[in-house]
Amino acid sequence: MPQPLPPLEQHPFLRGLSPEQLSAIACKVREQSFPAGALLLREGDPADTLYLVRSGKVVLEQNVPGRGPTLLETLKAGDILGLSWLFPPFRWHLDARAVESVDTFALDASCMRGPSPEHPVLEPALAMRLLRQLYDRLERVRLQRLDVYKAGA
């Protein structure tokens, strides 16, 4: 028997939000699963979803002309996937592929983009969570860019 998946509010990205904040951020949410090998995001496609990864493993890929795809980062249960819906032109900048079958909550970006007059704390609460994710990713990318293992580096 597969384990029942934890509810939306248990996902680390949303944990701690009030029920009102939660229903505003996730006003349109669906459960979405992908088999191993499937593309979750395709570079250039419209970006309108924030995926909360519940289980499985996703890898971000960058297609380098002449060299083919390069794997950049692995995301797993508890991670979020997809930030390009935040700013115009709202198109994915990378591919994301399921390394093994993946379960997600797919949150519609339309709930999160605009200001929410009914919930004045919503924007800062969400913004801080996103900022934290971006900051952590920036740190990781910096370290990766340093190419610290290269001989003679």
Binding site: V59, L60, E61, G68, P69, T70, L71, L72, E73, T74, K76, G78, R97, V99, E100, E139, R140, L143, Q144, L146, D147, V148, Y149, K150, A151, G152, A153
Partner: protein, 285 residues
């Protein structure tokens, strides 16, 4: 346990290399070889403690510090793993089977494996930093009941740059260890993690009250990993790092390896982070 080996230089005396014959050479990666030296002429073989290093002399070329990557409980086998980065290490990797190397050692302070008894051990290795930690893993496996959870986190630039792949495969299949491997960059087909080593710490349950962390790898990688361990609440005094500096004498004489108050050859190469904290971010002078 093998930890009661006295910390004394080898029989050849502190500065005289002892000639030893290369028994075998095995390629680990494009630029890295594991070299086994014949110590059958030595009574008792070549005892060492995990984390110690030898000075290896390529006759007529030069001498370099290289960690002992073998099994501390098998002193009859003296094993080093060397990456060819410059004149001496390149020459070292070219000394074929049957060729001679000069060896003096073992030197340096080992990993605090006594202190880690009864604790969970998190081993973090970046690139060839796995060499001095391989002896730790072999030791932990041999004395498995004396330790709590054992976690090995390994990072490399690409899958092809991972040293000790056969060991890693074996350890990944061993239920007594949890092994996570990550690379900075990979091509499709790589099924393990992609990303930096500290990120692996997000995937494991670490009890900061009973964790001892041992790490070796590029210094920047270690600084990032320390930050992540601190975030998890592991005290600085239980985070241990092995550092590399240019070494010449290896007996605290020449000053080449000095890091502010410490001589790395004698006071290190293994230090707890509380001793290093204020020096490790200093640019080398």
């Amino acid at each position: 346990m093998s930890l009661d080996v006295p910390h004394v230089p080898g029989v050849a005396g502190p500065l005289t290399p002892e000639p030893l014959r290369v028994r075998s050479l095995r390629r680990e990666t494009a630029d890295t070889w594991t070299v086994s030296l014949d110590v059958s002429s030595r009574p008792g073989g070549f005892p060492f403690q995990p984390g110690q290093f030898n000075m290896l002399y390529v006759f007529g070329v030069g001498e370099v510090a290289i960690s002992i990557s073998g099994d501390p409980s098998r002193p009859a086998e003296l094993i080093h793993t060397v990456r060819a980065v410059g004149a001496t290490t390149r020459a070292l990797c070219r000394v074929g089977r049957g060729g001679m190397l000069g060896v003096r050692g073992p030197y340096g302070r080992p990993w605090p494996l006594e202190e880690a008894r009864g604790q969970d051990v998190v081993v973090v290795a970046g690139g060839l930093g796995l060499a001095p930690l391989r002896s730790v893993i072999l030791h932990l496996l041999r004395h498995r009941e004396k330790y709590g959870q054992v976690l090995l986190l390994v990072g490399a630039r690409t899958p092809e740059d991972l040293p000790f792949r056969r060991d890693l495969e074996r350890w990944q299949a061993d239920s007594r260890l949890r092994v996570l491997v990550t690379v900075d960059k990979a091509s499709p087909g790589w099924k393990e993690h992609v990303g930096v080593v500290p990120a692996l710490l997000r995937d494991v349950a670490v009890d900061p009250a009973r964790t001892v962390a041992l790490m070796c790898g590029p210094e920047v990688m270690m600084r990032f990993t320390v930050r992540e361990l601190e975030r998890l609440g592991v005290p600085d005094a239980r985070i241990h790092l092995s550092l590399e500096r240019n070494m010449k004498c290896a007996v605290a004489f020449c000053g080449h390896c000095q890091l502010v108050p410490y001589f790395l050859c004698k006071d290190g190469p293994v230090f707890s982070y509380d001793r290093l904290r204020s020096f490790i971010s200093l640019r080398e002078v």
